[in-house]
């Protein structure tokens, strides 16, 4: 067990930092620090392509698909330097972190060759089609249906149904959609994991306005939408295994970049507390220290998780990680507002423009819901890490 990076890894760090600063102090200076979910989307798509051209988009992937075969330590370093340079949030992240790794792991050569290079190049942007109005926490209760048809163009899947809470759907080229492909099947059985093009007649995207005032997530309607028969990842009917595999990739290296964003937020909150004197209040000071401790712990939980990932097992630290950061971040938002006081309640520009820390306060209410709510996380932790009895179901 050791924390230090080798001299070679530190040299790699210098390479990352050099490229990032050239770009972000040069052609991409306008998007430094852009955190708002939809802010400057066109420029951020250009940034994704620039990352792809320079092979910095998915450095952990094999070289033949546009990666660098980077080690975990190198991926950690890049994630840290990326955040340190205040590079913008990755608009392509559902492709680079979820769709890509899933196709790499569960897909076949045809799928890998077709889909991975454009993800790595930032040419194709992905969204996630999991949740439905009736399939939230009960994620396997999928109703969206798909069936195979044969025509002059060859065999195709036809898709009917609705997905919801689909982030960035309005910008995306492809969606990975969990569909029920075996009629009459229930729950996790009979589902398939299909890769579906978004730019077609049978797909309609309707934005949903969030409590922050933004509309980053959407409803997506599939009404006779089509995709090629060979774009099913894994065996048809066995898609639940693939869908769950995707979620385990979510606990990847990107969490370290997320932590650097958290650190920037905490530093800003500390600055405010110094300026307005809140830091003199010992109760506030205790909470600031506590926040600092939580953030540092998060870093080492992530490194523990990543170090174990090389051995191919998912330990209890991976199962507890999401709830830990989500609760931490929500409390940080509350601490920010307690420190700012009444001025935090003001909209800074009409109609509903929010100061960054106010935005943090509001947006962090979603952290303990998306990607599995705290309540579902606790069920998972209790059942998988502690071996407690499974939740009984009311319907099967």
């Amino acid at each position: 067990m050791k924390l230090r990076f080798t001299a070679r890894e530190e040299a790699f760090r210098a390479d990352c930092a050099r490229w990032l600063s050239e770009q972000l102090q040069g052609p991409f200076a306008d998007i430094v620090g852009v955190v708002s979910q939809l802010g400057m989307a066109e420029r951020r798509l250009e940034w994704e392509r620039a990352l792809g051209r320079a092979r910095w988009s998915v450095i952990g992937w094999p070289e033949r698909y546009g990666g660098r075969d980077a080690t975990i330590a190198e991926q950690v370093i890049f994630a840290e330097e990326y955040a340190r340079a205040r590079a913008p949030g990755r608009i392509a992240h559902l492709g680079t972190e979820l769709a890509g790794p899933t196709i790499l792991h569960f897909g076949n050569d045809l799928q890998r060759d077709r889909f991975l290079p454009p993800i790595a190049a930032g040419e194709e942007i992905w969204c996630q089609g999991y949740s439905e109005p009736g399939a939230g926490s009960d994620l396997s209760n999928v109703r969206t249906r798909a069936w195979l048809v044969h025509s002059a163009q060859g065999a195709e899947w036809v898709i009917d149904g609705q997905k919801i809470w689909t982030s960035f759907a309005q910008l995306c080229d492809w969606c990975f959609v969990v569909c029920r492909t075996e009629e009459g099947s229930k729950g996790p059985k009979g589902l398939s994991y299909l890769l579906v093009p978004m730019h077609q007649k049978g797909v309609t995207v309707r934005p949903i306005r969030q409590l922050t005032g933004e509309a980053e997530f959407n409803e997506v309607f599939f009404d006779g939408a089509r995709t090629r028969a060979e774009y099913c990842v894994g065996v048809p009917g066995d898609g639940w295994k693939v869908a769950m595999g995707t979620l385990s990739f979510e606990r990847g290296v990107s969490t370290l970049a997320q932590q650097m964003t958290f650190r920037n937020e905490l530093e800003r909150i500390i600055d405010v507390a110094r300026q307005n004197g809140a830091v003199k209040d010992p109760l506030i000071r205790q909470r600031l220290s506590q926040a600092w401790i939580g953030l540092r712990i998060m870093r080492y939980s992530a490194l523990r998780m990543l170090s174990r990932a090389t051995t191919g097992t998912l330990g209890p630290e991976a199962l507890t990680y999401k709830i830990y950061w989500a609760v931490w971040h929500k409390k940080l938002g509350e601490l920010a507002m307690d420190i700012i006081g009444a001025p935090g309640e003001l909209v800074i520009e009409p109609p509903y423009g929010l100061a960054d820390l106010t935005h943090l306060y509001l947006f962090s209410r979603a952290d303990t819901i998306y990607g599995g709510s705290n309540q579902i996380q606790r069920n998972i932790i209790a059942e998988r890490a502690l071996g407690l009895p499974k939740e009984p179901r009311g319907d099967r």
Binding site: S289, I293, L303
Partner: protein, 385 residues
């Protein structure tokens, strides 16, 4: 960067766990609690002399195993898990940590060598009757060319079993000196302090013109030596707290799987599951904190780390683990229901150990205030009451 245990480290844990399961289980703990110093002398002899646990972090040149803080943390985690109460923590975790930081001297080498071969119990005087960290009530006065110690120390862990004390004493100039006092010593009066925690014992020691056996550090650097040594000791204690929390969590998890009400195991109810899940979240965070802090100690000792990082890590880990252990042990009683409130059941022992360890070497609040200074929220002058 490889933040996972090596095979050798896993082996240390397995070996320790097997030994403790066979020799320091719950009935043995009950029996040990009735012994004069609240521990089983046979178990202490075995771990100190046969298994070499006291010397695991002491250099090979002094007869130790020459391993690091990570390996020590593994051991303390395992001893904490079964609430072992021997002089191990006071000797190897506290006193040896301070000795490690003191400048080289014959006395230092002899003491560390004696600890390594397991035939010496040491204790650290770290506070006064207030029990508050960094309160020193022993004064050092030079009388007729020799140093004399006067005052008192309290809450001295395993002080009643100690052969030697490590004592920080304040000089007339306000500097600190670190003295070694071999016991018995003329003018040193030892009194056991019976504590809520039944698994180990404290002592209060009165010093009346005691002539120290050796001076381990003096001059302007002595305070820094002391502070760094205590920080390492805090990491050792935090590792033990982590083990205690894990032990309480395991006890509770087993219980809720077996206990049936309403025709099903109570562990199938979300009210129970969710609280246990939260306990695990805290323990997993505790592991990250302890292993990180242990790595920082090893880096500090190997010359690649900084004093600042050590101070931060110690405050972080002692703060988190103090809260974690007290929360988890409190929940353990609650989830057991009535049986958890009985004298016979082990839940109370974890709960009381958690409170005692929370106070030792600084409470969670104390360490958060130190951290507030370290990260520049305030200056020391603004936080010290």
């Amino acid at each position: 960067m490889q933040f996972a245990f090596t095979e050798e480290q896993d082996l240390i844990r397995d070996t320790a766990r097997k030994f403790l399961a066979a020799n320091a289980g719950s009935s043995q703990l009950r029996a040990a609690m009735t012994q004069s110093h609240a521990y089983d002398p046979d178990v202490w002899r075995a771990i100190a002399q046969e298994l070499g646990w006291c010397g695991i972090g002491i250099p090979e040149s002094m007869g130790g195993a020459g391993m690091g803080m990570v390996e020590q943390a593994i051991l303390f985690e395992e001893t904490g898990r079964c609430l072992l109460g021997t002089p191990l923590l006071a000797t190897a975790g506290f006193a040896a940590a301070v000795l490690h930081e003191t400048p080289e001297s014959t006395e230092r080498t002899e003491l560390l060598a004696a600890i390594a071969c397991g035939n010496r119990c040491l204790a650290l005087v770290a506070t006064d009757d207030s029990g508050i960290a960094e309160r020193y009530a022993v004064n050092a006065v030079t009388l007729g060319g020799s140093l004399r110690l006067s005052g008192h120390g309290a809450f001295v862990l395993s002080g009643d079993a100690a052969d030697s004390l490590i004592v920080p004493a304040v000089t007339a100039d306000g500097d600190l000196v670190i003295a070694q006092v071999d016991l018995p010593a003329a003018g040193a009066v030892m009194r056991s302090q019976k504590a809520l925690d039944l698994t180990r014992q404290y002592a209060r020691i009165e010093f009346n013109d005691v002539v120290p056996s050796a001076l381990l550090a003096d001059g302007p650097q002595a305070r820094r030596v002391w502070v760094r040594g205590v920080q390492v000791a805090q990491v050792a204690l935090a590792a033990e707290q982590l083990g205690g929390a894990i032990g309480a969590l395991e006890l509770t998890t087993t219980y809720v799987k077996e206990r049936h009400q309403f025709g099903r195991p109570i562990g199938s109810f979300q009210a129970i599951k969710h609280r246990l899940a939260d306990m695990l979240v805290e323990c997993e965070a505790g592991k990250s904190a302890v292993y990180y802090a242990a790595c920082v100690v090893d880096e500090w000792r190997s010359g690649t780390g900084t004093e600042y990082e050590l101070a931060q890590a110690a405050a972080l880990v002692k703060s988190h683990c103090s809260d974690m252990f007290q929360n988890v042990a409190g929940n353990a009683i609650q989830l057991h229901g009535g049986i958890g409130f009985t004298w016979e059941y082990a839940a109370q022992l974890y709960f009381k150990r958690a409170r005692a360890s929370g106070n030792l070497l600084g409470t969670a609040q104390y360490h958060r205030e130190r951290l507030a200074e370290l990260i520049g929220l305030v200056t020391a002058a603004e936080t010290t009451p």
